[in-house]
Symmetry: none
Subunit: 133 residues, 2 copies
Amino acid sequence: MLFEIDHHSGVPIYQQIIRQIRRQIMTGCLKAGDQLETVRDLSARLKVNPMTISKAYSFLEAEKLVERKRGIGLFVADIEQNQKEQTKDRLLDDAVNIAVIAAIQFGISENKVIELFIKQYREYRSQIGDRNG
Amino acid sequence: MLFEIDHHSGVPIYQQIIRQIRRQIMTGCLKAGDQLETVRDLSARLKVNPMTISKAYSFLEAEKLVERKRGIGLFVADIEQNQKEQTKDRLLDDAVNIAVIAAIQFGISENKVIELFIKQYREYRSQIGDRNG
DNA sequence: TATAGTGTATTAGGTAAGTAATACACAGAT
DNA sequence: ATCTGTGTATTACTTACCTAATACACTATA
């Protein structure tokens, strides 16, 4: 459940926190009902202000990935499978968007980009020995 | 050679200029030796401050896409064709990589990612009114 | 040298974003 | 009630970024 903050990456701290926790939830490392590290614990560990942690948690709550129990703490929400799919789709959408913008910017044809997708996709999957999907 | 600025898109004006000129160079609409529209002309046409244009041009110069001739103007650089291709490939590769990593992380199939890409690609191109390859 | 055309260095104002300090509110246990 | 543990609303500081106003420097030409 540990993760790291890079204070010099230029990416805001609260966004680094959001991404890492979101990813842990999406991949199942954090399961429904698990309590998030408390604001004060996490702020002490990462050496940032509690409000920065709180801000990150608030975004995760707005995404309905976590639920707040007042006075007690924050817990991973029991997410409907299809809602989880929606979240994944949105994240994937953003990632694909970056590729689309680059392709259009350079006037690269649809087919050429698709070939690249296929190539990279297969490289990765062979690396991690995945045989599914 | 005309292009448009959207003052309400949230994307900085100088970046909009960079993208459109970069694209014109990458796709060959602007060829080596062509003079860029002068700072004052472009600033008058787009109704923005000359310094904003100058800033955009400076970034393009740093990218070595254009060259400055002091007191005369800015011209499209004579880029080796294969270097141009290399640059494009590298940038596109990075962009696609982000999407592929996200997809694999979330266990999304290759076909679904490609479908999504095609959808976004076509939407984006229709938005900017592109009709080329 | 004067003039008119280039681009830009410097400076400053406006805005937004990120972070932090403080004080506060809620829940549970004693 | 009180204490200790939760998260947070409010406020403010700092920084970065975008844009603009002004004045300047270089080049060509006459």
